[in-house]
């Protein structure tokens, strides 16, 4: 994310520096964004960024889990869905909210409490899933945890269905969805800005955590070589649990944002969103955190552009087409290493 600024100071052999910084993917995404902006206009562009931000937050969980234990956590989309319901529960039951809050101070407090509780609760859920459903299978054939993940996905969906029923349910939109601000002559919803900013802040926080802290190093070294990490004194089980915790907490944050933005949630929410977020993770280069974030936005562009050009029904198909094309032509994604690369 930050490397884009470094290129400006690059003097010696532009091509060389360009290759070393691996700026291609960033420029690609920027290019896509720029073209898209021209094609679909500012309003649609904001729509794309908003849903892209949600996909990106969900994609981070896929990519982190895949990075560390090479498992496609099929249940992650449903963890996101549970996050949306948890957020609704916190807002309505714990905080007694049912609509827009006018006072900014009050709004900030409510949002802070909501994000904190939801993210912690979802983190615990994610770590618990790992502990009971995946850890016992860590040495089993690859197929086993994949199938378990599908089972966990069914279980989560049905538990929510039992509690909240099959119908879509309204969730409080504490940020007035009709509130808009004028930025550069474009009228943008406050909730859109909030969604995008929240997602970017969380991504930066995650990036800092992973690159600057001890636990971040533990996660990266575990992902890189589990046994060597263990020999350094890293508690693998704990590190993997923390990874699930963080990934699921981010999905919880995405769930909060989803509720705030759409104001309506349903137990089936996780399936489609999960698939799209997974596509984002693959597109960005699975295992790569920045890649997942970029991928999320690209998926947002693809989907919204299809809608904007009048091919809404093909939007979903287009997303999967992106997935297949990526896997066929560049399985490492925009930023990832080649699959199975061992250096």
């Amino acid at each position: 994310m930050t490397t884009t600024t470094t290129v400006l100071s690059a003097r010696p052999s532009f091509v060389e520096t360009f290759q070393r910084l691996r700026l291609g993917p960033y420029l690609f995404v920027l290019g896509v964004a720029a073209i898209d902006y021209v094609v679909i206009g500012p309003n649609q562009f904001v729509n794309a960024l908003t849903i892209g931000a949600i996909y990106a937050l969900v994609a981070l969980g896929y990519t982190m889990v895949y990075g560390i234990i090479e498992l496609i956590n099929f249940a992650h989309g449903d963890v996101f869905m549970v996050g949306a319901f948890t957020s609704m529960f916190v807002l309505t039951q714990a905080l007694g909210q049912d609509g827009p809050i006018d006072s900014p101070g009050m709004l900030a407090v409510v949002l802070f409490i909501n994000f904190t509780i939801t993210m912690i609760a979802l983190g615990i859920l994610g770590a618990a899933i790992e502990r009971f459903a995946y850890r016992p299978l860590r040495h089993a054939p690859r197929l086993a945890p994949l199938i378990t993940a599908i089972g966990v996905s069914f279980i989560l969906q049905n538990i929510i269905q039992i509690i909240y029923g099959p119908s879509p349910i309204n969730t409080p939109q504490v940020i007035d969805p009709a509130a808009r601000v004028e930025i550069g002559g474009v009228s943008i919803g406050v909730v859109n800005i909030f969604t995008i900013v929240t997602a970017v802040l969380l991504m930066i926080a995650l990036q800092m955590l992973v690159s600057r802290t001890k636990i971040g190093r533990a996660m990266r070294s575990t992902a890189s070589d589990r046994d060597a990490a263990q020999l350094m004194g890293v508690d693998i089980n704990r590190t993997i649990a923390i990874t699930f915790f963080i990934g699921s907490a981010l999905a919880g944050a995405a769930g909060v944002v989803q509720g705030l933005y759409f104001g309506n949630i349903q137990f089936t929410l996780g399936f489609q969103a999960g698939l799209k977020a997974f596509t984002a993770a693959v597109l960005g280069g699975i295992g790569n955190i920045t890649g997942a974030a970029l991928g999320g936005f690209v998926i947002g562009f693809v989907e919204v552009t299809a809608g904007a050009l009048g091919f809404f029904v093909w939007g979903q198909a287009a997303v999967f087409a992106v997935l297949i094309i990526t896997l066929v032509f560049r399985p490492s994604g925009l930023l990832g290493q080649q699959l199975g690369e061992r250096t």
Binding site: S167, N170, A308
Partner: protein, 439 residues
């Protein structure tokens, strides 16, 4: 209407205790079945009325009140002493799989009905897509099927391909329906939008289902004929984000028509429209007229009462019929113990009417052939019901069917959302109804 007392014979097995209290209501309801007045009070056994609807999960909100409409009619008939010496039993099969209607399960359920010779007629289905797999089976077996809610025109009208579904016996009409078809419902709203609401440039969204796309196609055709312009988008029923569709709407857009049923889609479309500051009318077929702001999963509930203001919908049936209040009271009384579905739904009345038509046909047939076997009864019921010269006094008024099995009284009723109704939760209120019999 004269009620003949039977020696407590039929009363014993009654599922709904409250049915006892509806005796008075039944006589007052125009559609109440006329019990076999001329028959001797002998017990000839049990005949079955099948009900094939999606009844569980998300589909329960549609299916359950519809099923209970049929149940009420059968309970009342039993209470009145059965028909022609027969007791009646409701045989209910649910073809919702994982909370959504499932055609293959619907086909299997129809096989179950046709395979049970005691089944003399079937009420249902709810979704046109299910009818498409069921009609070939019921047609082959010659079982009368009366749908309270199917509106897809291809199910009955040969010019839309109906003969594909009754391929084995194209001349044998076994499928009738009391709802008006979408080639009437869609255009009706088109005329209303153009003439009454004065809309000229519409965004038409359909949910890419048999019903939704069909009705939207019919709507669009008529609206364009009238001189309006249409921007057409398909959005699958589970769509949650309509913002890109709304943002892509042409600036001159002055209204929306949504073809489909409400899962979450229509409600979210309406909600997001209002959030983007679009206050123009939101119109649609019977799929969006699905209850008040208090009903879980209803359009008004999802979008909110305030946002729902300016929404117009049609029902492909008569909305204001003479016995409506009586029927709804009888329904409420009969099912007062059911926490979830104790008020009549949009298709409770039509389902009640369908059951009435089957029972009436049975009664008339047994009058002429009291000793017929089950196979003959089944065929007799079908023949009587599909005979275009016969009429039925039902809760919907006097019904009869044309040569394709469509109702000859294709009423379209218009509803509008009143945000203040239902204690401020918002509800659909009846505006007017038109008979399109001559179209």
């Amino acid at each position: 209407m004269k009620l003949r007392k039977l020696g407590g014979l039929a009363l014993g097995a009654m599922l709904v205790a409250a049915a006892c209290n509806t005796g008075g209501g039944a006589t007052a309801t125009p559609g109440a079945p006329a019990p076999g007045a001329t028959q001797a009070p002998v017990d000839k056994g049990t005949l079955k009325i099948g009900v094939t609807l999606p009844l569980s999960g998300g589909a329960a909100a549609d299916g359950q009140p519809t099923m209970k409409g049929a149940q009420l009619a059968v309970d009342q008939a039993n209470e009145a002493g059965g028909i022609g010496g027969y007791k009646l039993e409701l045989m209910v099969l649910d073809h919702a799989v994982n909370g959504k209607y499932n055609e293959q399960q619907g086909a299997q359920d129809m096989q179950t009905f046709v395979g049970d010779s005691a089944v003399v007629g079937v009420v249902g289905p709810y979704n046109s897509a299910v009818a498409k797999v069921q009609i070939p089976i019921s047609n082959d077996a010659g079982v009368l099927q009366c749908s309270p809610a199917n509106t897809n025109e291809a199910l009955t009208k040969p010019e839309f391909g109906a003969l594909d579904y009754r391929k084995n016996f194209p001349e044998r009409i076994n499928y009738v329906r009391v709802a008006a078809t979408d080639d009437i419902q869609g255009p009706a709203m088109a005329v209303y939008d153009f003439n009454t609401l004065k809309l000229r440039n519409l965004l038409v969204v359909d949910d890419v289902t048999t019903f939704g796309k069909g009705v939207a196609d019919n709507f669009q055709k008529k609206f364009e004929e009238l001189g309006g312009t249409v921007q057409r988008v398909g959005a699958p029923a589970d769509t949650t984000d309509f913002n890109s569709i709304i943002s892509a709407a042409k600036p001159e857009t002055d209204g929306v028509y949504y073809g489909g049923v409400v899962t979450s889609g229509a409600g979210l479309l309406l909600k997001q429209l209002r959030q983007q500051g679009k206050t123009f009318p939101f119109t649609g077929p019977d799929g969006i007229v699905n209850g008040s702001g208090k009903a879980e999963g209803a359009l008004i509930q999802i979008a909110g009462a305030a946002a729902s203001a300016g929404s117009y919908g049609t029902i492909a049936a008569i909305g204001d019929f003479p016995g409506r209040a009586d029927f709804e009271a009888a329904y409420a009384e009969a099912f007062k113990n059911d926490a979830d579905f104790n008020t009549a739904g949009a298709y409770s009345g039509p389902a009640y009417a369908c059951a009435t038509i089957i029972l009436k046909s049975l009664e008339e047939f047994l009058k002429t052939s009291p000793d017929a076997d089950q196979a003959a009864i089944r065929e007799g019921v079908r023949a009587w019901a599909s005979d275009t010269s016969n009429t039925f006094d039902t809760v919907l008024g006097t019904e009869s069917f044309d040569k394709n099995g469509d109702t000859t009284q294709p009423f379209i009723s218009f509803y509008v959302v009143d945000p203040a109704a239902a204690d401020g939760a918002g509800d659909w209120v009846f505006k007017e109804q038109l008979n399109f019999a001559q179209e």
